[in-house]
């Protein structure tokens, strides 16, 4: 059973200083599918996501109790380094955040960090092409790989931010409202992309957009005020929610 779980949180509590943002979160995210995380603003979706790759720790005033296992390993375990965790758990942010480097260097950034040695030109080219093809960007940028990534459109930037995770072969992709900075057309394009990645990666995606959650996920998790309220198959949640709060939220009665 354990190897079919991408992420497994057990009684996870999290504090920003003295403010508690997560309460006893138990959550099992299955491997190989797309799981959507929904809930009103401020309910702790980003916080949960950011605990999975320990990027929360940058703040320096975050403390946690409980465990989060990624692929069966406790990410807060003694022998586990955040660096290794982040290699296996890629993250896509709300605002596209390509580095101020060339498109090519962006794609190879993570790979260069982890491969330890210099990447030769041919291998690098192959990796770049493969990653960019996977995010359906190759044909659009293949002639300007050495242009600055910050000059791309937002949609292209966000796709690039997904592409740059792929060369290190992560197993889990965390996406925090990846379409919220995009226009509807770009949103559709990135959603399509997420679907094509389904099966190859376990994807946990936070979204504010009910239609997106419904279209773009297999399972759905509803959070409210730092707790997980309901976790079920997406059709089930949208057709027959088990909890009253879920129903209220889905029908737009709050948040």
């Amino acid at each position: 059973m354990a190897e079919h779980l991408a992420i497994e949180a057990q009684s996870l509590n999290l504090w920003y200083g003295t403010f508690q943002a997560l309460f006893e979160v138990d959550l099992q995210v299955r491997a190989g599918i797309v799981t959507a995380l929904i809930g009103p603003s401020g309910c702790g979706k980003s916080t949960f996501l950011r605990s999975c790759n320990r990027i929360n720790e940058r703040l320096g005033y975050v403390s946690t109790t409980g465990t989060i296992k990624v692929l069966g390993q406790d990410v807060y375990g003694e022998q586990v380094s955040a660096i290794q965790v982040r290699r296996h758990v890629g993250m896509v942010f709300q605002r596209p955040n390509p580095l101020p480097l060339s498109i090519r260097d962006n794609v190879l950034f993570g790979h260069r960090l982890h491969s330890g040695k210099r990447v030769n030109k041919a291998d690098g080219d192959a990796l770049v092409e493969e990653a960019l093809r996977q995010v359906l960007l190759w044909d659009r940028v293949k002639d300007r790989l050495d242009h600055k990534a910050t000059g791309l459109s937002l949609e292209e930037q966000q796709k690039l931010c997904i592409a740059r995770l792929l060369p290190t072969k992560p197993s889990v992709l965390l996406m925090d409202e990846p379409c919220s900075a995009l226009d509807p057309e770009a949103t559709a394009a990135v959603e399509d992309l997420i679907w094509t990645l389904r099966g190859k990666y376990s994807i946990l995606i936070v979204t504010h957009n009910m239609a997106q959650a419904r279209r773009a996920s297999d399972e759905c998790v509803f959070m409210l005020m730092g707790r997980v309220v309901e976790h079920s198959a997406t059709e089930e949640m949208f057709v027959a929610p088990k909890q009253q709060e879920t129903a209220d939220y889905i029908e737009g009665r709050f948040g």
Binding site: R58, I83, R86, R87, F93, N97, L99, L113, L165
Partner: protein, 318 residues
């Protein structure tokens, strides 16, 4: 809690009502605004005025000599600076070389030190520690240069003599180290600003891909801050270049081209400071010192403009 109602236009009621209702826009706020704007305009323009005035003053003081009697080839390439010997010789090369040597040593000392400090303050230090460090760096910048000169004379000199087993402790190395330490706080402050200007989202993105703090710094932060860092060094060089009293005390002030860091040397600034008091006003010697000043002025000007240009170029590219 309820507050008493506040009239939004005080003075509208009562005896001054008529006055307040007049449409004259020149009320107190208007006059204050007018006065303040005039004051800051004068302040702002005065910088240009002072620069121009100083340039003209320095230029005219040495003009007659520079045009009619100075041999420029001797001035720029002559190796003998003997203004008081008969016949006088005005070869400024030893001073130019001394200035260059000492400045280079100063940069070799201060750039690593200052960049290290800037990276530490900007990327690692937090909260109180950061605040305190910044205060100390600013304090360091405020130490008067004569104090640094004394340190060169009485601290650095014996250390150099002892460590390197040399006779002369007042030399290029001594002055370079002293100047390096003096320039470090400025470079640190400007470099830190450059590092702070790198958006945090870049750091976050790199860290999320598994970069260590060091990898984030040398793969993302430093490359992106490079224009600002170059400008910091250039402004540091400008600082080192123009420094006078400390170098005069620490360099040994020997009017010859130095051939190693252990040779004593003289700089342009120190020479002006040391000789201007003795040169008779209007004499050739007096005038040639102003030509030296002009040279110094031009070099500093070029350095500063270059720094500015680099920063602008960097901004445009980003």
């Amino acid at each position: 809690m309820s507050r008493p109602p506040v009239s939004s236009t005080p003075g509208v009621t009562g005896p001054r009502a008529a006055e307040a209702k007049s449409l004259d826009r020149r009320d107190r706020a208007w006059w204050f605004d007018f006065g303040a704007r005039a004051a800051v305009f004068v302040g702002g323009m005065s910088a240009i005025l002072f620069i121009a005035a100083i340039f003209v003053f320095i230029g005219t003081q040495g003009l007659d000599f520079a045009i009619h009697r100075l041999s420029w080839s001797e001035f720029l390439f002559g190796t003998h600076w003997e203004p008081t010997v008969e016949p006088p010789r005005y070869g400024a090369l030893p001073l130019i070389a001394g200035t260059a040597w000492i400045t280079v040593v100063a940069m070799l000392v201060s750039a690593p030190l200052a960049f290290g400090a800037a990276v530490y303050v900007a990327e690692f230090a937090r909260g109180k520690q950061r605040e305190w460090l910044k205060i100390f760096i600013e304090l360091l910048a405020a130490i008067p240069s004569v104090v640094w000169g004394v340190i060169g004379l009485h601290v650095m000199k014996p250390i150099i003599q002892h460590v390197f087993d040399v006779q002369i402790g007042l030399n290029v190395l001594n002055a370079g180290v002293i100047l390096g330490l003096m320039a470090a706080p400025i470079i640190t402050t400007i470099a830190e600003d450059a590092l702070k200007a790198v958006p945090d989202t870049y750091r976050e993105a790199a860290e999320a891909m598994g970069a260590t703090r060091w990898q984030v710094i040398y793969r993302v932060v430093l490359p992106h801050a490079r224009p600002g860092l170059s400008a910091a060094v250039l402004l540091g060089i400008g600082r080192a270049f123009g420094e006078t009293i400390a170098v005069l005390m620490a360099s040994g002030h020997r009017l010859m081209i130095p051939h190693s860091v252990f040779d004593s040397a003289a700089t342009i600034t120190a020479t002006i400071a040391a000789e201007l008091g003795e040169a008779a006003k209007g004499s050739d010697h007096y005038q040639v010192l102003f030509v030296l000043g002009l040279l110094l002025f031009l070099i500093t000007f070029v350095i500063n403009l270059t720094a500015d240009w680099i920063v602008r170029g960097g901004r445009r590219r980003a």
